[in-house]
C-alpha cells in the first residue's frame, strides 16, 4: 500500500445556480492573456447540452481517455509508435471553431467615426487576426438553451434514453436543465500525462495536481486530444499547452482555488482524499460496471490505523492525516456515498466529484403530480417511490455520472430526498412520523447522517467547506535551497524568462 494524498473538489450540483462567477474568477486570474482568450479552465455548461468544446463527450470523434487493451488499459488516442507518427498532424485535435474564435470589438471606431446621421458602432473583430468577423459562437453560447435542437439534441448523454422521451424534453413546457461546472479533474490515471510525447505533463506526488511543464512542452498537442474532458488547451500564441492548475499557489497558502472561493451558490467543497497509488492500475482496468466501485476502493479510509501507519511510512505528516479525517470530500464521496466522478467510463479516474442534482428531478414530479387534493408531503413520498417519473430522466444523469448505472443515481437521489423530507417534517411539522422514518431507513440513511448531510449542505461555514492541509512551503524551500533565508528575496512571482512565443 503506497498511500498518497489528493486535493479533491466536490461540486454539489443541487446548489449550482449557473452564475458563472467561478469561470470569471478563473479567467481574470489565469487566462486573461493573448493566446488564452478562448480557454476556460473552469467553465459551466447547461445540461442537457453539448458542452464546451462542442460535443467533448463524443470520444468516437475526439478519442480521449483509455480503453481496455490486451494487457491493462491503452490510450484511445494512440499506441506509442503511432503517437510519434502523428506528430506532424494530430488527427483528433479539436479545431478552434469547436471552442470558438475569440473576439473583441473595435471600440476606437466609436470615437474616430466621422460625424453623421447614424450612431457609430463598434464592430466585432477577431482577437487573433484583428480583422472584422462574424461571431458565430462564444463563451456559454449554449447557456440555458436546454431543449434546443442545436445544443441539447446533440448531447451524447442521451444514449439509451428513448427517442420519444428526448422529443418530450424539447417541448417548451417540459424543458428542464441543470448546470455542470467543470475544471480539470486532476485524474489518478491521467490520459494527458500518458499521451505527452515530451513527458512535459506530470502529477504532483504531494497533492495530485496535474501540471504542464511549459519549458518541456514542444507543442505536439497530444494532451489536448487525449484528455477526454478536453481540459488541456493549446495556447496558439506561445505554442504551449496550458491547463487548470487547481490554483496550487493559493492552496499552498491555505486558500481555496479561485473558482471555489468565489462560488456564489457555495456548491464547492474541498479536502484531502487518501488513495493507494499501488491500486491505480487495478482501479483503471476493471469492467465498465465495476469502475466506480473500484475507484472508491482505491480511496482509503483515513481513520483506519493500517492506512494511517502506511501514510506515515509514505511520508505524510500528521497535518495531512488530520485534514484527511476532517475532509468534506471524504464525507461526500465515501462516508455518505453521495458524490460520483464525471464519466468514470473514460478510465482516467477523475478526482473531482459531483453530487447529482435533485432539484430538476423534483420540479418534474411536482409539475406532473401536484393536485389540489394532494398535500405536499404526499407529493414527496410519491416522488420517493417513483423516481422514474422524473422530468429529467434518471438515465440521463446515470450516463453523466455513473456510466449508465441508474441504480447508483437512484440510490443517491433517494438519500438526498430523504434528507429533504426528514428536515421538512422536522421543521414544519415539528415531529417525525413513522412513515418518514421508514423512508429514512429505506433510503439507507439514519437521522444522525441526515443531520450531518444537512449541516454540510445547507449551513456550512467556509472552514467546513474548505479543509486545507499544512503544505509547509517553507520546508519545501528549505529542502531546495538548504537555508531558506539564504535565498530570501530570490524567488517569488515573476519570470526568469518572459513566456513569449519563440521563433
Amino acid at each position: 500500500m503506497d498511500v498518497r494524498a489528493h486535493m479533491s473538489m466536490i461540486f454539489h450540483l443541487d446548489k449550482c445556480i449557473g452564475c458563472h462567477t467561478c469561470s470569471v474568477a478563473c479567467k481574470n486570474l489565469w487566462t486573461d492573456r493573448k493566446g488564452a482568450e478562448y480557454m476556460w479552465w473552469n467553465n459551466v455548461e447547461t445540461r442537457p447540452g453539448s458542452g464546451y468544446p462542442t460535443g467533448w463527450e463524443d470520444q468516437d470523434h475526439y478519442r480521449g481517455g483509455w480503453k481496455k487493451g490486451w494487457v491493462g488499459v491503452e490510450l484511445k488516442l494512440h499506441s506509442r509508435p503511432r503517437g510519434l507518427a502523428n506528430l506532424f498532424y494530430n488527427p483528433a485535435l479539436p479545431d478552434l471553431q469547436d471552442y470558438y474564435e475569440p473576439f473583441t470589438f473595435r471600440y476606437e471606431d466609436l470615437f474616430t467615426a466621422p460625424e453623421g446621421d447614424d450612431q457609430p458602432t463598434a464592430i466585432p473583430i477577431s482577437a487573433i487576426t484583428g480583422e472584422p468577423m462574424n461571431i458565430e459562437s462564444g463563451p456559454n453560447w449554449d447557456d440555458d438553451l436546454s431543449g434546443s435542437a442545436i445544443y441539447a439534441a446533440n448531447d451524447p448523454n442521451w444514449k439509451d434514453v428513448p427517442s420519444e422521451v428526448q422529443a418530450q424534453m424539447a417541448e417548451i413546457e417540459r424543458v428542464v436543465f441543470n448546470y455542470l461546472p467543470r475544471i480539470c479533474n486532476h485524474c489518478l490515471n491521467p490520459a494527458c500525462v500518458a499521451a505527452c510525447p515530451s513527458g512535459a505533463i506530470y502529477k504532483r506526488g504531494e497533492d495530485g495536481v496535474v501540471l504542464v511543464n511549459e519549458d518541456k512542452c514542444r507543442a505536439w498537442r497530444m494532451c489536448v486530444s487525449a484528455c477526454p474532458y478536453k481540459k488541456v488547451y493549446y495556447n496558439w500564441s506561445t505554442g504551449k499547452s496550458e491547463k487548470c492548475i487547481l490554483c496550487f499557489p493559493r492552496m499552498e497558502i491555505g486558500q481555496a482555488p479561485a473558482c471555489a472561493h468565489s462560488c456564489v451558490g457555495r456548491i464547492r467543497y474541498m479536502g484531502v482524499l487518501l488513495y493507494d497509488a499501488d491500486a491505480i492500475r487495478w482501479g483503471a482496468e476493471g469492467d465498465e460496471k465495476d469502475l466506480i466501485d473500484r475507484q472508491l476502493d482505491v480511496i482509503l479510509d483515513p481513520f483506519d490505523p493500517d492506512v494511517i501507519a502506511a501514510a506515515k511510512q509514505s511520508g505524510l505528516d500528521d497535518g495531512w492525516i488530520d485534514t484527511a479525517q476532517k475532509s468534506p470530500a471524504y464525507k461526500f464521496v465515501k462516508e455518505w456515498g453521495l458524490a460520483l466522478p464525471l464519466h468514470a467510463e473514460y478510465r482516467t479516474m477523475a478526482m473531482m466529484f459531483y453530487v447529482p442534482p435533485l432539484s430538476p428531478v423534483v420540479s418534474t414530479i411536482e409539475e406532473g403530480l401536484i393536485r389540489l387534493d394532494l398535500p405536499p408531503e404526499q407529493v414527496d413520498f410519491e416522488l420517493f417511490d417513483n423516481l422514474e417519473k422524473a422530468r429529467l430522466p434518471i438515465k440521463y444523469l446515470a450516463n453523466l455520472f455513473a456510466g449508465g448505472n441508474e441504480a447508483l443515481i437512484r440510490g443517491i437521489l433517494r438519500k438526498m430526498l430523504a434528507v429533504r423530507i426528514y428536515k421538512r417534517r422536522q421543521s414544519v411539522e415539528g415531529e417525525i412520523d413513522e412513515a418518514t422514518m421508514n423512508m429514512v431507513w429505506s433510503a439507507g440513511t439514519s437521522p444522525e447522517e441526515i443531520e450531518a448531510i444537512y449541516k454540510l449542505t445547507t449551513v456550512p461555514t467556509i472552514a467546513d467547506r474548505f479543509v486545507f492541509p499544512p503544505y509547509h512551503r517553507e520546508m519545501a524551500a528549505e529542502s531546495m535551497y538548504g537555508d531558506p533565508l539564504a535565498r530570501k528575496g530570490d524567488t517569488g512571482l515573476g519570470y526568469s524568462v518572459p513566456p513569449e512565443r519563440g521563433a
Binding site: 506509442r80 503517437g83 506526488g205 504531494e206 496558439w236 538548504g482 524568462v497 521563433a503
Partner: protein, 238 residues
C-alpha cells in the same frame, strides 16, 4: 583566401560552432522558446496536406543523406546492381517531389490564411524560403546531374569527413557545378539559422516516448532530502 575556401572551410566551421553553441544555450537557458509552434488549432485541413507530405518526405531524404555520409560503403554495395540504383534514385526523387508539394502547400497556407499570418514571424518565412530553395536545388541535382547516390560517395563523403577530421579539403567541391555547390553551402546556412528559428524543434523529437512509463509523478520534497539530512547548499552563498 578564395570563395571556395570561404564557403567550404570558414563558413562550415562558423556555422557548426554557431549551431551547437546556440542550440545548447537555447535549450538550457531559453527552454520556453523551444517549440514546434504548431498552428493546427487555427487551421487543420491545409496543414494536413502540407505538413504530412513535407515532413515525411524531408525526414526520409535527410536520413538517406545521413546514411550516405556515415555508411558510404553500404550505398556503394547497394548501387552495384543498376536496377537497385534506379530504384534508389527514383524513390528519392519521388519523395523530394512529395516534400515539394507539401512545402508548397505550407507556404500557400502561411501567406493566404489570415489566422496563420497572425502567428507568423519573419524568421518563419526565411525558413520556408530556405527550404524551398534547398528542395528545388536538390530536385535539380537529382534530374540534371543524375545518380548522385553513385558519384556523391566519392565527392561529398570525403569532403564532409575532411571537415570532421579538421583537415578540410574544399578542393573536392571546387570543380563541381554551381547548383551542387549552392545545395551544399545552403546546408550550412541552415545550420546558422537552426538555433534562432523554429528549426530547433528537429532535435526535440521525443523518441523517449517509446520507453518512458506512462504516468509521471513528481515530488517537491521527496526528490530532495531536507537540509537536516545533507549539507545545506545555500550555506556558503553569503
Amino acid at each position: 583566401m578564395n570563395w571556395n575556401m570561404l564557403l567550404f572551410i570558414v563558413f562550415p566551421y562558423v556555422a557548426i560552432v554557431l549551431a551547437i553553441v546556440g542550440t545548447v544555450y537555447r535549450m538550457i537557458r531559453r527552454p520556453f522558446t523551444v517549440s514546434s509552434l504548431s498552428s493546427q488549432l487555427l487551421e487543420g485541413r491545409q496543414l494536413f496536406w502540407g505538413s504530412v507530405p513535407f515532413h515525411w518526405g524531408i525526414v526520409v531524404i535527410l536520413a538517406a543523406h545521413l546514411v550516405a555520409l556515415i555508411l558510404p560503403a553500404g550505398i556503394e554495395v547497394w548501387n552495384r546492381v543498376p536496377i537497385r540504383l534506379y530504384l534508389l534514385e527514383i524513390t528519392g526523387l519521388a519523395l523530394a517531389l512529395w516534400a515539394l508539394f507539401g512545402l508548397g502547400m505550407l507556404i500557400y497556407r502561411r501567406v493566404s490564411v489570415s489566422k496563420i499570418r497572425a502567428v507568423t514571424t519573419p524568421l518563419d518565412l526565411v525558413v520556408l524560403g530556405l527550404l524551398l530553395a534547398q528542395v528545388i536545388t536538390g530536385i535539380l541535382v537529382a534530374t540534371v546531374y543524375r545518380f548522385g547516390s553513385y558519384w556523391g560517395t566519392g565527392v561529398f563523403v570525403p569532403y564532409v569527413q575532411s571537415l570532421f577530421t579538421l583537415q578540410p579539403r574544399p578542393e573536392l567541391i571546387a570543380p563541381l557545378p554551381f547548383i551542387l555547390q549552392f545545395h551544399a553551402s545552403l546546408f550550412f546556412v541552415f545550420l546558422v539559422v537552426f538555433p534562432f528559428s523554429r528549426l530547433v524543434h528537429i532535435i526535440t523529437v521525443p523518441l523517449g516516448y517509446l520507453t518512458r512509463p506512462f504516468q509521471l509523478v513528481k515530488w517537491v520534497r521527496r526528490d530532495r532530502p531536507v537540509s537536516s539530512e545533507r549539507e545545506p547548499v545555500g550555506a556558503g552563498r553569503r
